[in-house]
Amino acid sequence: MTGAARTVAALARRALNEIFRVPGAAIPGILAPTIFMLGLSSVFGNAVHIPHFGVSDFRTYIVPVGLLQAAGFTGAATGVNLARDIEQGWFDRLLLSPTPRVVLLAGIVSSASLRALLPSSFLLLVATLLGVRFPGFLGIVVAALLVMGLAMAIAFYAVILALRFRTQQAAPLMQMGGFIAVLFTSAYAPRALLTPWLRTVSDLNPVTDVLTGVRQGFIGSVTWADTGPALLALGAMLLVLGALAVRGLRRTGV
């Protein structure tokens, strides 16, 4: 293993250790997507009776939204943790180390993609116990890849804010970004049933394609027509937000 890979692994392991060593801070983030899924399906379950909704079980429709919310919460938490490390001086010591800054960034955001699997797995377990349709092996693999990728993208966004504001008080901004990205899509209803303004926003929002990619296995079968645009949208988000995060990191402490 090269030095860079060892650094990335060490930073990712440090972030994962926090889950088990400070569980009080991690538990709300693990439970929140499941609470949202259960709550939204209890409240709006009858929405499937709207003509042309196209799905008979609202839980099946909303579980993919919960998976993306897990990515959103985890990505935002990565930024909040970085802001804490900046406030407490730990990040300055990392910057003084001979490790390239891009490697530091890779370690921070890769931890987000791994951490996102915990709330997602818990949500899937609860959903399966409640009888939500299992998306199959391919559906799960595609969904996991997209969730991990989105967690990285939102972590990049949260890192940009953490480096800009250098305080945990920016946490609401980080959480809000993920919240808007995930919910201002076809989260609650198919595109045709959205109000015109939300339809326009969801058409412009790249996370809509990612949601479609995650959802496909739950409501039908996995196809390249849904997977391709999802991967493309995710790749574009990672490229743009990643470049901005690298730029922010290079300017830090200069």
């Binding site: 609470i35 209890s42 709006f44 809000m176 076809s186 609650y188 049933l193 939300l198």
Partner: protein, 256 residues
């Protein structure tokens, strides 16, 4: 006593206004939820069994956004008290020659003022976006009255938790619970259209009566029955939570 309460309330309000990061979540999150719910599910008003006579889903959802915002206001009040405990200001207040009850009452008066502002914000937002308040100005005042009472109650709950937990992060941890109690009420959707067991739980959840009490003057011409239920639920929450917060203060002073 009154002067002390008012001075502490003014301090709490000034602190909140000077730190927008604390006040923003009270309105931003409920506003976003309102936008997503209305944008995604506006056609649910056509479902059989939906509350008759509603002008639109925005009108129906306004009470949900207000209730959610007031609950977050309670969390915010709790975090503020916990930060005062962590920072040592609370101990200095306890040592000061003032009635100790004023420490809690000052915070609650500030929460009441903020609650009225939260209700006014959502009613104004609703009107701008095309909602109708069918009961007019008297109806808006009734909504503000129920909201002020409920906001005070939620603030008292937040203060009680802060006095017991003494940690801002613990109080912050109750944030997901806000959504749990909201989801098992009629805040977002009519009771007969909720899925089981939320439908059964909603019958016993005071938030249902609170949200319906605020919703009624918005979606229908004034009918006192639901409004009185809303006032009763809000007053019940305020009295019980207020008593619990005073008990928590006594416990905290005993331990000090």
């Amino acid at each position: 006593m009154t002067r002390t309460v008012w001075a502490l309330a003014r301090r709490a309000l000034r602190n909140l206004l000077r730190r927008p990061q604390f006040i923003a979540p009270l309105v931003v999150f409920p506003t976003l939820m309102l936008a997503v719910n209305v944008g995604g599910l506006s056609r649910t008003t056509t479902l059989p069994g939906f509350t008759p006579g509603v002008h639109g889903f925005l009108d129906f959802q306004l009470a949900a956004a207000i209730t959610q915002s007031l609950l977050l206001g309670g969390v915010s009040a709790g975090i503020a008290v916990a930060l005062e405990i962590e920072g040592g200001f609370f101990d200095r207040l306890v040592a000061a020659p003032i009635p100790r009850l004023a420490i809690v009452l000052g915070r609650l008066v500030a929460t009441t003022v903020i609650a009225v502002a939260q209700v006014a914000y959502f009613l104004a937002l609703g009107l701008i976006l095309g909602a109708h308040i069918r009961s007019g100005v008297p109806g808006a005042l009734l909504v503000a009255g129920i909201g002020a009472l409920a906001g005070t109650g939620f603030g008292a709950l937040g203060v009680m938790i802060a006095l017991r937990a003494r940690s801002a992060s613990t109080v912050q941890g109750i944030f997901p619970l806000v959504f749990v109690v909201l989801f098992v009420s009629t805040a977002f959707f009519p009771r007969n259209l909720l899925e089981s067991p939320a439908r059964e739980i909603a019958r016993f959840n005071p938030l249902s009566y609170l949200a319906d009490g605020m919703r009624e003057p918005i979606i229908h011409p004034l009918q006192l029955a639901a409004v009185l239920d809303g006032f009763a639920a809000a007053a019940g929450i305020a009295v019980v939570a207020g008593a619990l917060s005073v008990l928590a203060l006594r416990g905290r002073l005993r331990d000090a």
